[in-house]
């Protein structure tokens, strides 16, 4: 039906009623909305249960990265210095988070489940150099600041071939 002149005045009633309804804004730092379990945040390098790093320095993640932000320099595992179960380990492993697009291809490419994307997204820094994360920063446990929604409710079951120790 075509609009009548009285409809403009009913619009005033709508705005007046809205004053008394509660706003739907979520105030961010006080209330953090829970993330889905597969949220792609900051990267993390994993270790085995016995303390050895999973990453063997194969550079498949660097090859898969569309933004070309991973730098891997491998080194032979010697008898005295055995870092990873395999022939080589990653001596230098750096990710430039200012270039990363958080697509998750590195996680999909890794054959050893060494790198995954965790749920930390509050990684702002004041200078671009601080955003280049080195291996020890990536190995460290991410600071849990944002709640994550329940995995059993919101996610499909973890497939058998993917371990997360």
């Amino acid at each position: 039906m075509s609009p009548r002149p009285v409809d403009s005045f009913r619009g005033f009633g709508v705005t007046l009623r809205q004053i008394f309804k509660k706003p739907i804004t979520q105030q961010y730092p006080e209330y953090k909305r829970p993330l889905y379990p597969r949220f792609r945040g900051r990267h993390r390098l994993w270790r085995h249960a016995n303390g050895m790093e999973k990453c063997v320095g194969c550079s498949l993640c660097a090859a898969a990265c569309p933004a070309d932000c991973i730098r891997v320099v491998a080194e032979e595992n010697t008898a005295e210095n055995r870092v990873s179960p395999g022939e080589r380990y990653a001596r230098i492993y750096e990710i430039n988070l200012s270039r990363c697009i958080f697509c998750g291809y590195c996680e999909l490419a890794c054959p050893f489940d060494a790198i995954t994307l965790e749920q930390e997204f509050e990684i702002s820094e004041y200078s671009r150099d601080d955003l280049i994360y080195t291996k020890d920063m990536l190995l460290a446990e991410p600071i849990k600041r944002v709640p994550v929604a329940d995995r059993d409710l919101y996610d499909t079951p973890v497939p058998a071939y993917q371990t997360r120790s």
Binding site: F12, T15, L16, K21, P23, Q27
Partner: protein, 329 residues
């Protein structure tokens, strides 16, 4: 009234400061209220409930780079916002906000200056303020500013006519052009909003267009012609233009209250300014409500509305009022 000049000076200082404070906190009220009407919070980070937001905005404006276009005409570019802001503030000097008081042995009248033609004085100052907008846009030496200022001035000049005609009914009923007399007459008879309802509606619509408020804010909306006449202004010069617009709004609300809603008339007479302030706040709430609800009028719709709707209505209102006043003399 035999009033020493220094009481007028004190009143002037107090009123100007109150107006400036009210301008700052009116921006806060507008942002919070429009936020609530749109189901969101307004600013609530700068201080409790965002009450320090106007201070934050002020500091931002002062610290901004106040650039100066190289080809702008210097003296006009700098004085244009000053003219607008000064006339906007000066128009408040004849609005009565209280009955007189008698303190010790001094008589303090309810307005800063009582002129016998105070209504014409306010309209004259409003027209002078338009000079600020014209000159500001032209002196910026930018095609968008020029076009925007031409649009603004065409709009303001058109709605001035309807504005002035709409108060003719009030003047005829009160028999005087002085705002003090108009308020005092409303004390004896009824508030003029009741017999002059058409005049009130025309005055309010023309006033909204006169102060560039939505829905008539096409010349200065952000999506149109960059920003109209204040495109090339930044920092505190832009703050002056913004202040001129908001103080114009407050002055127009004050004028509307004085002419149609009885000014300072309220239950207890010495508390006159309080009733005046309450009525002005209600009118400002109406302005903000209009902004939150209505979409913008296109420019040709705007000009058509001013000339083809408001002007005939105001004229007919004046004629009918004149006929009735003579008939019931």
């Amino acid at each position: 009234m035999n009033e020493p000049w220094w009481i007028d000076a004190i009143k002037a200082v107090v009123i100007v400061n109150l107006l400036l404070g009210m301008f700052a906190y009116m921006t806060w009220v507008e942002r919070k209220l429009i936020g609530r009407m749109q189901q969101r919070y307004g600013p609530n980070r700068a201080g409790p409930f965002g009450l320090l937001q106007p201070i934050a905005d002020l500091v931002k404006l002062i610290r901004k780079e106040s650039f100066f276009p190289a080809t702008a005409v210097d003296i006009l570019y700098i004085t244009a916002p000053m003219v607008s802001a000064a006339t906007a503030l000066a128009a408040f000097s004849v609005i009565p906000f209280g009955a007189g008081w008698h303190v010790w042995h001094y008589d303090i009248s309810g307005e800063i200056m009582n002129v016998s033609i105070s209504l014409i004085f306010i309209f004259a100052l409003g027209s002078l303020g338009i000079y600020g907008f014209i000159v500001g846009g032209w002196a910026s030496d930018s095609k968008y500013a020029l076009l925007g200022s031409m649009r603004t001035c065409a709009q303001l000049v058109s709605y001035e006519v309807a504005l002035a005609l709409s108060v003719l009914g009030v003047v005829l009923m009160a028999g005087s052009l002085s705002l003090v007399d108009i308020v005092e007459r409303q004390q004896d008879t009824i508030w003029y909003a009741v017999p002059q309802l058409v005049g009130l509606l025309v005055f309010f619509a023309a006033g909204t267009a006169e102060t560039n408020r939505p829905p008539f804010d096409l010349p200065e909306a952000d999506t149109e012609l960059v920003a109209g006449y204040h495109t090339e202004y930044s920092g505190m010069r832009f703050g002056l233009f913004s202040m001129a617009e908001y103080v114009n709004m407050i002055t127009l609300s004050g004028l509307c209250v004085t002419l149609f809603f009885g000014g300072w008339i309220g239950p207890w007479s010495p508390l006159g300014p309080l009733w005046f302030l309450l009525k002005v706040l209600i009118l400002i709430f109406l302005f903000i409500w209009l902004r939150a609800t209505l979409p913008r009028l296109r420019y040709d719709q705007l000009m058509a509305f001013g000339w083809k709707v408001l002007l005939p209505l105001a004229t007919v209102n004046a004629l009918v009022t004149a006929a009735l006043v003579v008939a019931f003399r």
